[in-house]
Symmetry: C2
Subunit: 406 residues, 2 copies
């Protein structure tokens, strides 16, 4: 781990052999980039994790089948429309997009992953998708500008693009990892929510990528809560093209560094998503320790992170720890008043039955004025632990979401 | 059922043999009623349902034991402080309150139920509770003014008092039911949330009351969602003093009318709670039908009613049905895009894969400007059904909850 460098920049083209483009195809709006492609110079292995939503969008169903084949050459992404709840026509449009991109690139259609994000229940404007491909293919480049353009083209109500790069050495040779993502939860009010693309120039078998991407998702994108909606389109891809000449596999040199680097890159992107949550003014780290089990700790941390009352109290810089202990109480986790400790920024609010005094409340109120909030809950019952990253609930969230489609 | 009359007025003193009082005891604030008592002229039977929160407040733990005895003579209620997370001292304060009220009334302390609502984690000001009892006992009366005063004295951020009365005849003799409640969820930002007291002048064994109160809670207070927090203090009591001279029991005349009347009275109070939800501008009825089971229907209806994205879309009168189908998709209920139908005010938004056109969207947007919203979801899979009552998410909710304790 000591040798892994992770930076919140660089993007999907940082590993060797990857190119990207982001173009303005007028898919839904004018004057913005809204169609992206990420392409490998040689066929890559691929794995992915996808939404558990029963109404999974047509492109998600298509990509689930694609990653089973384990091969990818290119990704297309449009913003504006999610191609969700679009029936048979939605499925045809995914296949047509893959075919058009494959023709333009001269690769098999079965090696093109197709993603969409935006409004649910509207058909894709296929002429604009076709225009996007026509514009993107000649623009593909392995430059920071191209990576930035791609990261911008997948945004919906995100206010900044999200990118990451990571690198480590295996026996003197460098392996690179790059990635980009767009918002989670509040960031995407249509629940066409979270898309993330992570690339590497290591050579890794698809089955091994699959294990790594699941582990990384569990420690990153599955540890953030903005609002509580799981989208129809959530997707995280991990693709490996081998351009570094370094082959990685479980039990071989560099494997653990690779796992940690992918995990770190995903966590970096996930935190960027939270930071840019719709209307979010604060970033909160909620850590629960001392639970009877890790599962209990997760129940408690999620209940806190989801509580509208807790989230509005953060917005108001109000150290209302009663809302926190109440959320723990109804979370389903084993908990006892007399064993529970709650701290904001290290200051005890409630310590095994002892209630904070006026001076402590004042100190917490000051700490809660900062942009980053640390909330620690110790249940005093065992060794279970979980950390969740989340944001506050603000007027701006209501502004953004009370008027989106109309 | 045809003979049951239910009105949103009347209150806990409507049945014979019950008195109430609501007084200004300066428990926390000046110039408002904040201490209430409800007293029966003879010993009554009692049952109750209480919060499942693991951090249940001291008065809730006390009342759980009290209803096991099945007898009650008086209820005390203070607002301002919830007496939750207050340790051994909190328990002593409950016992002291019961003892003081019992002495003032000349009844056994074990027949006094004690309830609190307000801020979590602060001790009760026992001198003010004592003052409340001193003021309330001589004020006890069987008048509409006294009932109104009691209903006002249990309010926290509620903006209006909630009362109900119901009556029906059994073999020519009248049985009366009365009740009052205070807010649920958003209504009480400190999660000292929902309190409801329902009285009757029928004679009913405690064990039978218990069955009725559980059934009624399941069809009323457990069918509303405002925010998602379950409080440390939620309580619903049903008490019967027999003053009507009518004895009711399962299988005997009038029993089904009694069950329906209690259910109707509880539903009437629950709807009043939703209508007065913190910052709420709209009242929404969410009905899910065609689910594989009632449990599935409830999962889907609750997911919709809890979704911050759906609730903000109601506030903005935005017929964004994509947010509704997304919530159904992640609810855990069995659901298929091609079998799902969604209607706002009877207008189809999504009909088994067919998407609403511009004219339908306009009609829905107009309907969503009304104060009452009707959302119907048919999953097309079976006979399971569930209705949930809820409210929208507004700027005012954020205003109220971003600054409460400080």
């Amino acid at each position: 781990m000591s040798g892994i460098g992770i930076k919140a920049s660089g993007g999907v083209i940082y590993p060797h052999g990857w190119k990207a483009a982001g173009v303005a195809a007028e898919v839904k709006y004018r004057n913005r980039r809204d169609f992206a492609m990420v392409v490998s110079e040689s066929v890559a292995t691929v794995a992915g994790v996808f939404t558990t939503n029963a109404m999974a969008a047509a492109p998600v169903r298509y990509n689930r089948a694609l990653v089973k084949g384990g091969k990818v050459r290119a990704f297309t992404v449009n913003t504006g429309f999610a191609n969700a709840c679009t029936g048979a026509r939605g499925e045809e449009d995914v296949l047509a997009t893959a075919r058009l991109a494959a023709e333009a690139l001269g690769v098999p259609a079965g090696e093109v992953a197709v993603s969409s994000t935006g409004v649910i229940g509207a058909l894709l404007p296929m002429d604009r998708i076709e225009a996007g491909i026509r514009l993107a293919v000649p623009a593909l480049a392995a430059t920071p500008e191209a990576a930035d353009a791609a990261a911008r083209a997948i945004m919906t109500t995100d206010t900044v693009p999200k990118q990451v790069s990571a690198a480590f050495e295996v026996e003197g040779r460098e392996v690179r990892i790059g990635g980009m993502s767009k918002g989670a939860g509040m960031i995407e009010p249509n629940m066409a929510t979270m898309l993330a693309f992570v690339t590497t120039d290591a050579a890794v078998a698809a089955v091994d990528l699959d294990a790594v991407v699941r582990e990384a998702a569990g420690a990153s994108f599955n540890r953030i809560v903005i609002d509580n909606d799981r989208s129809t389109n959530d997707s995280l891809f991990l693709a490996a093209n081998g351009a570094s000449g370094v082959a990685l596999a479980p039990g071989k040199p560099g494997w653990d560094d690779f796992r940690e680097a992918v995990k770190g890159a995903c966590l970096c992107l996930a935190k960027q998503n939270v930071m840019d949550g719709e209307g979010a003014s604060k970033f909160a780290t909620v850590t629960v320790t001392g639970a009877k089990s890790d599962a209990d700790a997760q129940l408690a941390a999620r209940a806190i992170a989801r509580s509208m009352l807790v989230k509005t109290s953060w917005y108001g810089a109000d150290p209302n720890w009663g809302r926190v202990i109440c959320a723990v109480g109804y979370s389903g986790a084993a908990a006892e008043e007399s064993k529970t400790t709650i701290r904001y920024s290290g200051i005890p609010a409630f310590e095994r039955g002892r209630v904070a005094g006026a001076r402590e409340l004042e100190a917490m109120a000051r700490a809660l004025k900062e942009r980053e909030i640390l909330l620690e809950v110790d249940l005093g019952l065992g060794g279970g632990a979980c950390t969740i990253y989340t944001s506050d609930l603000t007027h701006e969230y209501v502004n953004i979401n009370a008027d989106y489609t109309t």
